[in-house]
Amino acid sequence: MTTAFPPIEPSSRSFKPPTYPVKSHVSQSGVTTRRLFASLPSQAELKLEFKNINDTNATAIMTAYKTAKGALDDLSLPVAVFNGADSTLTTYLDGSSFAAGLKWCFAEGSPPKVTSVAPGRSNVSVSLVGELRMS
């Protein structure tokens, strides 16, 4: 099941592209050989920071985490998450240019972190992982 991540524009965003499963081997003669063990990359990382958002938006993120049962279900990311990037870069940031079928989910063992900064205002940090899943 896919859970919709709330359409909240982040204050900052960092992205680490998915990696290809490449293994390297250095022979006794010093020659390096690399082999690709899969056709598609996976394990992309997307970290989102939401600064001073109101309680309604912080609750929406918590609700998405609860609905997705943490890292179990995958997420559909709204365009607001990629605001500030042009359409071409967005296709890389959302992972679709790297691998069709890359699915985003909350990072295992790293639930959203809420820091309350003022009445009704919180900083929320979210860590997402993009991975290939059996459907």
Binding site: E9, P10, S11, S12, N52, A80, G84, A118
Partner: protein, 132 residues
Amino acid sequence: MAVKTGSTAELRFEGAAIAKVRDVSLTIVRDALETTGIGQRDRTYAYGVRGTTGTGTLLYDSADAATTATMNRLLNDSESTDTIAMVLDTNVAEGTLEGDALITQAGVSVSVGSVVSVPISFSFTGKPSGTF
């Protein structure tokens, strides 16, 4: 209606007017919490926490209890706060801000040919009551 001058203003400590005040200022600040999204080109903000502080300069008069009480407050180990009121016009009820405050600084400045002055600073704890 008329603009007011310093002659109609008053600074009170624990309800008693301080006899000689050269200057006093009161500042109310509310934090601006930045809410700018990553796709925006102009910064946006939301209101944060409010704080009220003040500074002033008293003229030392050993016979004025309010003046000496203000100065001695820093030598008192009591944890309780004191009531400070800034009155902009003693002739009307409006224009008075009052609240619990901590005297955070009181110094004494003495120089030849000048009156003994006492710069003070205070911070309100909580929201002051009243309006301008």
